[in-house]
Structures are given as C-alpha cells and as structure tokens.
C-alpha cells in the first residue's frame, strides 16, 4: 500500500476544496504564536505549518471535552429516557504531528479494551489523519524516547513531509489515505526519490522506555522519589486535558427538577477528588500518589495491560504545566535511579 507521491504547497487549497466538497470537515492547527489549536478550517491559508506543537491536542475530534449521551424526564412516577446518538461527522484531521497520530493507538486501546465505546468508535472510524512530519522540535519533545519520531508514520493515513517551502512528500499509508488522495489524484505527482530524512527534526532520546516500564514496579513503593518530584505540583487538570492520550472522564447528570442530560466530561487523575470515595476514604490521598499514578499509568500499566505506551512524548503537559513539571525530565530521572 505504502505509496509515495509529491504534492505542491500551492495545490493544498484545491485539495481542501475537494475534501470539503467530498463531505469532510477539515480540522487543522490554527491560531497565533502562543495559542495554536486544532479547529475546523476551510483553507490551508489559515493552517499553521511552522509551529512545534499545538497547545491542546486534537483528541477532541474523537473524545470531546463534554458529550451529551442521554436525556431524561420525570413525569409523575415515570422516567422517560432517550439516548442521544453519537455525532461522528466524517473528519480529516490535518497537520497532526507524528506524536499525535501515534496517540490514537492509545486512545483506541482504552476505548475498545473490554467493550467498544459507542461514542468514541464511530468518530475514530470516520476520522482520517493527514499527518505532518516535524521539521523542528523543542526541549520538551521526547517522541524518540517513547518509540516514535519526527517522521514516524504510525497512526497517519497520509503523512506529509515538507521537502522545501514548496512541496511535500505524501506517504499514502492506508485505505482511508487512499480515499482522500483519490479525491484529487491530479494534484499528486510521482515522487522523485528524495528522502524525507534530511527534512526531519533531530530529537535526541532521553531514556529507553522499555527499561522504564521494566523498572517502574520496583519504584512504586519508593515514596520519597514521588514526593520529591511532585512537591511543586498543584493538582490541577492542565496536564491531562492538553494530553493527546489521557482518556479519563466523569459522567454527570446536568438537571433541574424534572429534566436532565447525562454528560461525560474530561476528568483528571491529578485532582484530589478524582478517587475520593463516598466514605470519604481516598486511596490517593496525597499529590505524590497522584503524580505516581500519572507516571505509572502511562509507562507501566498501559504498556503491561494494553500493550501500548500511554505517552507519545509530545511535551504538551510540560509546556502547559503552571509549575514546570517536566515529564521527560522526571521520567529520565526515574530511569537513572538504581533499584
């Protein structure tokens, strides 16, 4: 399948038009320096190609901030409930970097673990990823430490790599990729054999994730390690909410006396109330235990149980953390500890 072609930058507008005409909603990175996010776009003119990473991830396309699932009404002693079916418009997620494309495997593993999530699955099925290789990174990027890389194709349906300011190498990787390229085949010409490697950012590896996964169970009881790392952590939801792989949610009823809507919203293991029991017992009473959970979940529990890492090294959590909790740095430090 893996076929490589060339598309000129000036042809992207035409391709966007064909995708829109083909019934796709196109979502891409837009905004000003400092606040770039994935939003619906109609033209590549608005799309950013020069940023390191967006502030928020594009996971909302498959896993929105909040999602109504059911409506209910009380009349007399009767409760009438009606499902709100999932909304899954055909979507092209354009310009997702390789780490973001890789994050879909983690989300998918969680949402299809023991049963298939009726709200996630159709959105994933209807989403096509046109990835964009990274030509630059920053000190927060650590994709190469977690099995990825700035030109990694995993998760993308088409991967674009800027070869110069004018043209992109387009690797067509899946059937979905073939379909979106097939909307405007005339825009794609044969690749001239130019390798993408020279264009890619150089991201040095900070740790070996297999070693970290192997070591974490023995670090779990070392309370001092976790306490020391997390003394400055505030216990907010910023890291989880900007993260492309974080999938925790809470289900709440928004209601007045007679009617209501059942909604699921993002939640975060960083919050003190996340694990608070009705009895008032909290199994993760301290912030150090919540920080440990965040690291263990991503680098130990998920690889062990779902066979996929819970972190793709995008660095968003660290860029957004109000108190400069730097995940790459802290995991590298854990990897150094002798056990």
């Amino acid at each position: 399948m893996n076929e490589s072609k060339i598309i000129l930058k000036k042809s992207l507008g035409e391709w966007f038009n064909m995708m829109t005409a083909g019934g796709y909603r196109v979502v891409g990175p837009v905004g000003q320096d400092g606040q770039i996010d994935f939003e619906p776009v109609t033209s590549p003119d608005a799309v950013r190609f020069d940023h390191v990473q967006t502030n928020n991830s594009g996971k909302w396309v498959m896993f929105p901030r909040y999602e109504a699932m059911m409506r209910f009404r009380l009349s007399g002693k009767e409760v009438q409930a009606g499902e709100i079916p999932p909304q899954a418009p055909p979507t092209v997620l354009f310009g997702a970097h390789p780490c973001d494309a890789a994050s879909l495997a983690t989300l998918n593993a969680v949402f299809t673990w023991d049963s298939s999530d009726a709200y996630f699955e159709p959105k994933l099925a209807n989403t096509t990823i046109i990835g964009l290789s990274c030509t630059k990174g920053d000190s927060y990027c650590f994709c190469t430490s977690v099995g990825g890389g700035p030109g990694d194709t995993r998760g993308s349906d088409v991967l674009l790599t800027p070869l110069d300011g004018e043209k992109f190498l387009a690797e067509i990787l899946t059937e979905k990729g073939k379909s979106v390229v097939g909307l405007a085949p005339q825009l794609f010409s044969a690749a001239d054999g130019t390798s993408k490697e020279a264009a890619l950012a150089k991201i040095p590896a900070r740790f070996n994730h297999r070693d970290v996964t192997a070591k974490l169970p023995s670090l779990f009881p070392k309370e001092d390690v976790w306490k020391e790392q997390s003394l400055r952590c505030l216990g907010c939801g910023a890291c989880a909410y900007v993260c492309p792989t974080c999938s925790c949610f809470d289900i709440q009823d928004e209601r007045d006396r007679y009617t209501g809507v059942r909604i699921r919203c993002w939640d975060s293991c960083g919050f003190g109330l996340f694990t608070l029991h009705a009895s008032n017992h909290n199994p993760r009473h301290k912030q150090s235990e919540r920080w440990r959970q965040r690291v263990m979940h991503k680098f130990s529990y998920q690889p062990e149980r779902l066979n996929v890492l819970g972190c793709v090294g995008c660095g968003r959590c660290s860029r957004s953390c109000p108190v400069d909790m730097n995940l790459g740095e802290h995991v590298a430090a854990l990897a150094e500890i002798k056990v």
């Binding site: 606040q35 901030r65 003394l231 505030l234 909410y241 900007v242 912030q287 660290s318 109000p322 740095e329």
Partner: protein, 267 residues
C-alpha cells in the same frame, strides 16, 4: 552567595525553619520553578529575578509541604499580602511561617504578621500602570464589545482548574463546582459552564484576591481571568473600602455583616 541564599542558609543552619520555599532554575533558561531547600548547602539553588512570578504562598497550605516542618517563603509583595489575607481568614497562625521579602533591597526575614504589616506599609500599593491601562480599556468597551471579548476568552476554557489550583486564596477542600447535590455550576465546559465557573470564582475572590496574577499565569488557555478578578477587586474597594492583605483584620467584605448594610436579604 547572594543575600537571599545566605539568609536561607542561616535560617536552615540555625534550625529556625525546616524548609525554604523559593525559586530555582526551570526547564528553560528563562523559566523558574518552585524549589524546596531543606539543607544549608542547597541554598545556592535559590534565584530571584524578574522571571520569578508564581505566588509561593500556595505551598504554605499544601499538606505535603506543611509536613516538611516550619517554612520560610521567598516572598514578592503579592506573596506577603497573601500571607496576611490568609491570616485574616484563619488559614495560618502568627509566627508559623517566615517571609523572606525580595525585590526591595535587603532580605530581612519577617517572622511574624506585625513585621509583614510594617514592611508593607512602606511598599507602593494599587495596580501597576499597565494593569490600570488594561482595566480602563476593558471598562471603556461598550457592553456588546465587552461581552464579545469575554465570550471569546472564555470559549477557550477547558475547565482544568489550574487557575484555582494555582491561587493561594482558593483553598477550599471542596470547591463549589464539585458540589453536585444540588449541582450549582453547569458541568460541561461550554459557554454557560465556563462563564458560570469563571464568574463564580471571581465572585468568591472579590475583596480577597491579592491580584498576584498567578491564576492567569497558570491558565493553559491564556485566558485573562486576572482582569476579571481585578475588576471585582476594584468594585470591592469602592463598595467596602477594604484592600485585602495589608493587615490582619477580621472584617473583610465577604465575611462581614453590619446592621447598617443596605441589602434587605442580610437581615
């Protein structure tokens, strides 16, 4: 070693405090992060410069930091004021924390509230010229423009509650947004939910907010929530004449009732 580092070292050597909460190097050369210095020989980690912005008074209340023992906290002016307001609200007791005032020449440890009050008496008050300008710009907008501005700002809110987490005055162990029997604030981070969340937070801080800016600095969506708080601070000042955090007093606006109050519902 500079004066701040030397002072911290002395306090630790004399066992006057168990930990000095200060600023150290962060991930990037321009970034600073909170450090918790517990050994005299770690004192050289401490930095103070323009980039040190976080209101470290937050950590004085954090259980894991409290557990380390008595703390000295590197304190810019807003942090000093926060300590006094926290004292006003019975969250910290006198002589339980040492403040190390920075940014005004010498670092002389302030070991009790009276010393902080005295120190603050000589520090200029009120909003900076830039803050005043920004506030005036918001106030001069038409209602429609003001609404459009806040709608666009608040549409980015993801309800991560980093603003609340970073704010030393947001110390409730169970915040109103988490009370769900009954549910007071709409759950979803949609327009109404975001508006109610941010307005409620601002209301709960009216007359208590120190205008340290930590909430806006913490916001991953770069929402100017500090402006909302400053607008209410101005309002509380005009209505009740009280500036928070200048002295340990027991009559701050949100917790005081007077027989002469205009509002009927209070009686």
């Amino acid at each position: 070693m500079n004066e701040l580092q030397q002072t911290a070292k002395d306090l630790l050597e004399k066992n006057a405090v168990a930990v000095v909460i200060g600023y150290g190097m962060g991930s990037e050369p321009s970034l600073r992060r909170a450090v918790f210095v517990r050994k005299p020989d770690q004192a050289p980690q401490l930095i103070f410069d323009e980039s040190c912005r976080q209101n470290l008074a937050f950590y004085v209340l954090k259980p894991e930091v409290k557990a380390l023992g008595k703390a000295a906290v590197v304190a810019r002016t807003p942090t000093l004021r926060t300590l006094l307001q926290l004292a006003t609200e019975n969250q910290i007791t006198d002589e339980s924390v040492v403040a190390l005032p920075v940014g005004n020449g010498s670092v002389q440890p302030l070991t009790n509230f009276a010393a902080i009050e005295q120190y603050l008496a000589n520090v200029p008050r009120g909003f900076t010229a830039q803050e005043q300008q920004e506030l005036a710009a918001i106030k001069s907008k038409t209602l429609a423009d003001r609404w459009a501005f806040w709608k666009s700002e608040l549409s980015r809110c993801i309800k991560c509650y980093a603003c609340r987490a970073a704010c030393p005055m947001c110390y409730c162990s169970k915040c109103i947004v988490e009370v769900n029997q009954p549910q007071w604030v709409p759950v979803p981070s949609d327009m109404l939910g975001n508006l109610e969340w941010n307005v409620i937070r601002a209301m709960h801080l009216a007359g208590r907010c120190i205008s340290c800016g930590s909430c806006a600095d913490a916001c991953p969506a770069h929402i100017r929530i500090d402006l909302l708080n400053q607008l209410l601070a101005t309002e509380a000042m005009q209505q009740f004449g009280a500036e928070p955090g200048l002295s340990v007093r027991k009559d701050y606006a949100l917790a005081t009732f007077k027989p002469t109050d205009k509002e009927e519902f209070i009686r």
